[in-house]
């Protein structure tokens, strides 16, 4: 018998997401992904100074903070012909990579872990066994001490005994599908707390160069933070030494704590490599952090280490034997299931023809069920050559693996061997979670082994320029200019497009990772990736609809960022009115 299940709010994500399900027995038969927030920033951008755009774009999301800012800078610089100096590019890489790695760590420990880790069970664990467990899974993390495990157990026990469960109130702690041994739960809770301390510490890299995090400051044409080894008011050896320490901390935590934890936990839940398979198509333009101003198929003047050995490409039908070239012209967006309308009744348009008009047709609030109607979400549904596509860490892993990126192949092959899975099984809930850990490790290595050392080498050689002043004055810009960017941010490939008329923004567009993943059905009825991960094969488990633990695992494996997903900026070619900034 078909039963309807609603998960709203989906918690431990960014933004507001509602999942509607139809189940039969203990499996999911149908699923709808509904983004329930819209902010309309596209209209707000019109007529603004393009040098301000990064600051507006940054506010699209405070979780992947910096991602939209850098995509905005690259698009504007592409339009006006500005080339940030090499050192400015490396500084941006340090800021965005540290933020993206932090984002992955917070996702794993603070947003996703409670799907797998039973906090309540941690209170019953033997602290010595937790230390032994950590050693057994190859975790060399310095926090794996008996004293620490005892203290954490006592903290958890204290909270449970007090009856005031704080953020753990209402968790599904009696659900039979929490399968970790007690000591693994305790170790994971200890690492949850360690990760809080870690993210607070290493993100100071953002503050050194951007003044603050979240929402660090950036600058069209470079960075505002001057660098000079022999000046007291600039970034100098004092900060370089600190950054060096935080970069090392980052690699240490990711390699000794995060990766072993992800391997161990997904090893216990190995069946999740056969659950949650989604759209078998993937796009990636580089390693995490790669930021192209303009065509990603052409090498930029100062290529970033995040582009080395990784060609932009597309993997189709889970076939990792071939990488197809990435052609942005094959992207189109459907509004078949989204509360927007296209003129003439069209439901899918390519970027050169597009438009955006809000047209809410859903029920008035409050409501109980959305998806009886064709339209049920604020997220559009992007398609590549008509196909739904996954973007994100798994996509980078798949495209990197298929394209022969050496470190990706090595890490994936090692992990697959240890876990006894095939690379094809990575298209799964477990695969997305594992891929994120691998993605973080590769990024931490690139940050530590390439980006930071290259920055320091540049300083040694006296390369201190961080700003291209030649294109700062709008008088140097063409009367009409257009540009775009493609950036690999934490959740996948992000593109910004901008058109500038008479020094002001006339068009601003974005193609956002969570839109690719969270969008709903297209006019052909093809589900979006969240939806097909839950209902693509009719076998996704849901044992107890009152405690939807299993679908939460699958949704969280995508790391939803719904403020990003909802088209804050029009991805289509809609011309926005130019107004004069007063």
């Amino acid at each position: 018998m078909t039963k309807r299940v609603v998960i709203d709010p989906v918690t431990r994500i960014e933004g507001h997401l509602r999942i509607e399900l139809e189940t039969d027995g203990q499996v999911i038969k149908n699923a709808w992904s509904a983004a329930t927030q819209y902010r309309g920033i596209e209209a707000i951008m019109a007529g603004r100074d393009p040098r301000d755009a990064w600051a507006f774009a940054n506010r699209i999301c405070g979780v992947c903070t910096s991602a939209h800012a850098v995509a905005s800078l690259a698009a504007v610089e592409n339009a006006i012909g500005s080339t940030p100096p090499r050192q400015a590019g490396l500084i941006r890489d340090m800021v965005t990579l540290s933020a993206a790695i932090q984002d992955h760590v917070i996702h794993f420990y603070h947003l996703h872990a409670l799907d797998w880790v039973n906090v309540a069970a941690a209170a019953t664990a033997d602290p010595a066994a937790a230390v032994t467990f950590a050693r057994a899974i190859g975790s060399a993390w310095k926090g794996n001490t008996l004293e620490r495990m005892m203290a954490v157990r006592d903290t958890v026990k204290g909270i449970l005994d007090s009856g005031q469960l704080s953020i753990f109130s209402g968790g599904y702690w009696d659900h039979p599908d929490y399968r970790l041994p007690a000591e693994a739960n305790l170790m994971a809770v200890a690492h949850y707390l360690d990760a809080l301390e870690f993210q607070r510490s290493m993100i100071r890299i953002n503050a050194v160069f951007g003044g603050k995090n979240p929402h660090p400051n950036f600058l069209v044409g470079g960075m505002a933070c001057s660098i000079d080894q022999d000046k007291s008011e600039t970034v100098n050896q004092v900060q370089i030494s600190e950054v060096e320490k935080w970069v090392a901390e980052t690699l240490e935590f990711v390699s000794t704590c995060y990766v072993p934890d992800a391997m161990a936990i997904m090893g216990v839940y190995k069946d999740y490599f056969d659950i949650g398979a989604s759209a078998p198509n993937y796009i990636a333009v580089g390693l995490m952090g790669a930021a192209y101003a303009g065509d990603p198929n052409q090498a930029p003047k100062y290529p970033s280490p995040t582009m080395e050995g990784f060609r932009p490409g597309v993997v189709l039908d889970d076939d990792v034997s071939v990488v197809h070239p990435f052609d942005p012209a094959l992207i189109a967006e459907s509004v078949a299931s989204a509360w927007y309308t296209y003129s003439g009744g069209a439901t899918t348009l390519t970027p050169d023809q597009g438009e955006t008009t809000v047209g809410y047709t859903g029920p008035q609030l409050p409501y109980n069920w959305l998806s009886d109607a064709d339209k049920y979400t604020w997220s559009k549904a992007p398609r590549y050559d008509g196909r739904p596509v996954q973007v994100g860490p798994l996509a980078r892993i798949m495209v990197g693996y298929a394209g022969g990126h050496a470190r990706t192949r090595q890490l994936v092959d090692d992990a697959a061997k240890k876990l006894g899975i095939t690379p094809a099984q990575l298209n799964s809930t477990g695969g997305r979670t594992l891929a994120r850990a691998v993605d973080a490790l590769i990024a931490a290595e690139v940050l530590s082994d390439k980006i930071f050392p290259q920055f320091v080498t540049g300083l040694k050689k006296g390369d201190v320029d961080v700003f291209d002043a030649t294109k700062w004055d709008p008088g140097t810009w063409p009367k009409s200019a257009a540009g775009y960017s493609l950036v690999e941010v934490a959740r996948g490939t992000l593109g910004h497009w901008v058109r500038i008329e008479n020094g002001a923004i006339s068009l601003y567009q974005a193609i956002v990772p969570s839109t690719w993943n969270a969008g709903g059905r297209d006019e052909a009825g093809q589900m979006g990736p969240y939806e097909s991960a839950l209902a693509g094969n009719g076998r996704h488990p849901l044992a107890n609809s009152a405690e939807p633990l299993e679908p939460l695992r699958t949704i969280h494996s995508f790391d939803p960022c719904i403020s990003c997903a909802v088209h804050v900026l029009d991805a289509q070619g809609h011309e926005l009115q130019v107004v004069t900034t007063s």
């Binding site: 960014e14 819209y38 405070g62 204290g158 993210q199 600190e242 609030l365 320029d465 700003f467």
Partner: protein, 408 residues
């Protein structure tokens, strides 16, 4: 005699004290000390005395006994917190995660019971909604991130099938303190900027029957967010605020007043282009559009990310994110503040702030620009509000006798 409480492990303070080895007799002695302090009087103590059981209608001499206080204090449980996220970007929760002062783990595990926060709570869907309903039913501290979109019956932000406005009103009903944290909750921020497509407004435009503390900024400094909550716990009352509801402990002075680059400003030493010699010398950013002269914030004092740096310290002009409508009033960001001839004259700089603020919030108490006039029209009506979430009882009905005068 001191005792170290090792976290909050038992339901009540009395039990926690007992666990820490504090005898009932010592506890009563401590409470007796408090009773003596209340008896000694002082306007500041009258509120606390009432909170601990003194009859508010009785003569001022009536003070609680040690037994009264012990009973009240001993039964204290951790304050319940409902932490909403409405129309926003989660940057404010992220900022709180960065706090190196009172940390999030302190707040969540030791000091408070944060029963509802969508970003970090374990429960989802129906289970989360039940937790919220239960927390809303009892006295609690309400923290709000995000704005409320009013246009088109609120369809632009729905949570659990309800509008953001309904979610906020339900949570505000039994709240004993309300903190609007971040520019979105304070005034709507980026989505409320011209032309405000979704009709986004701040919390105090919806909740008008209770004071709202406005922790301004996009986002606010993490330490300021957590300190505002810690202030409630320490002082039993919300922090004193300026005319816009911003806590004075973090929003008392303009950035310009405590900016380390101020001597360069006064000496007429300005950066003319990013990364020029002046930039490398840490000179004033005024001509590159710095909004420090018109922005109230303790950024230069507290700084960001455990005192690592701050926007001006990292060479970028202040964009004024603690001020209302900064995405409209302060843009283009790189255009210098208007009507500032030359440099070095404090009176001129004062006029800048005064002029801007007066233009933008005509009729509202002026604060931002004028250090000399600080505290004018100070919004201190919160002083008399009991904090039920902290164990206070609402007075039967009483005019706000403790409200401070409107201006000095």
């Amino acid at each position: 005699m001191t005792y170290a409480l090792d976290g909050w492990q038992e339901p009540t303070l009395a039990e926690n004290l007992a666990k820490a080895g504090v005898s009932r007799r010592d506890f009563l002695k401590f409470c007796g000390g408090l009773a003596a302090a209340f008896a000694a009087g002082g306007a500041g103590l009258s509120l606390a005395a009432r909170a601990f059981g003194a009859d508010p209608t009785a003569a001022p001499a009536a003070t609680p006994t040690a037994e009264d206080i012990a009973g009240k204090l001993g039964a204290l449980t951790k304050p319940v917190v409902v932490w909403l996220q409405l129309q926003e970007c989660t940057g404010c929760v992220e900022s709180a995660l960065r706090s190196g002062g009172t940390t999030v783990e302190d707040l969540v595990l030791n000091l408070l019971s944060v029963n509802y926060n969508e970003a970090i709570m374990a429960a989802a869907g129906d289970a989360a909604n039940r937790v919220l309903g239960n927390a809303n039913a009892e006295p609690h501290i309400l923290v709000v991130n995000g704005s409320v979109p009013l246009k088109d019956n609120g369809i632009y932000c729905a949570i659990g099938g309800e509008s953001a406005e309904t979610v906020l009103k339900n949570a505000a009903k039994n709240a004993s303190a309300i903190l609007a944290v971040g520019a979105c909750a304070v005034w709507g921020s980026v989505q409320a900027s011209r032309p405000n497509p979704t009709g986004a407004v701040g919390v105090d435009q919806i909740i008008k029957d209770k004071p709202v503390v406005n922790v301004a900024g996009c986002p606010p400094i993490g330490e300021v967010i957590t300190a505002t909550i810690a202030y409630l716990l320490t002082h039993d009352e919300p922090p004193k605020t300026d005319a816009q509801g911003r806590p004075l402990f973090a929003y008392e002075q303009r950035i310009h007043d405590s900016c380390p680059r101020r001597p360069h400003f006064d000496a007429g030493q300005f950066v003319r282009t990013f990364d020029d010699d002046g930039a490398r010398g840490g000179w004033g950013l005024f001509h590159l559009g710095c909004k420090g002269p018109s922005t109230v914030s303790a950024c230069p004092v507290i700084q960001w990310n455990q005192h690592t740096s701050w926007p001006i310290g990292a060479g970028h002009p202040c964009i004024g994110c603690t001020e209302k409508e900064f995405f409209d009033r302060f843009t283009p960001f790189y255009r210098e503040l208007p009507n500032v001839p030359g440099f070095g004259v404090e009176g001129t700089a004062e006029k800048v702030g005064l002029g801007l603020v007066a233009a933008a919030v005509a009729g509202v108490g002026i604060h931002a620009g004028v250090t000399a006039l600080r505290l004018a029209a100070s919004k201190t009506t919160t002083a008399a509000e009991p904090l039920a979430a902290l164990g206070d009882e609402a007075p039967a009905s009483e005019p706000a006798a403790a409200t401070e005068s409107e201006s000095e």
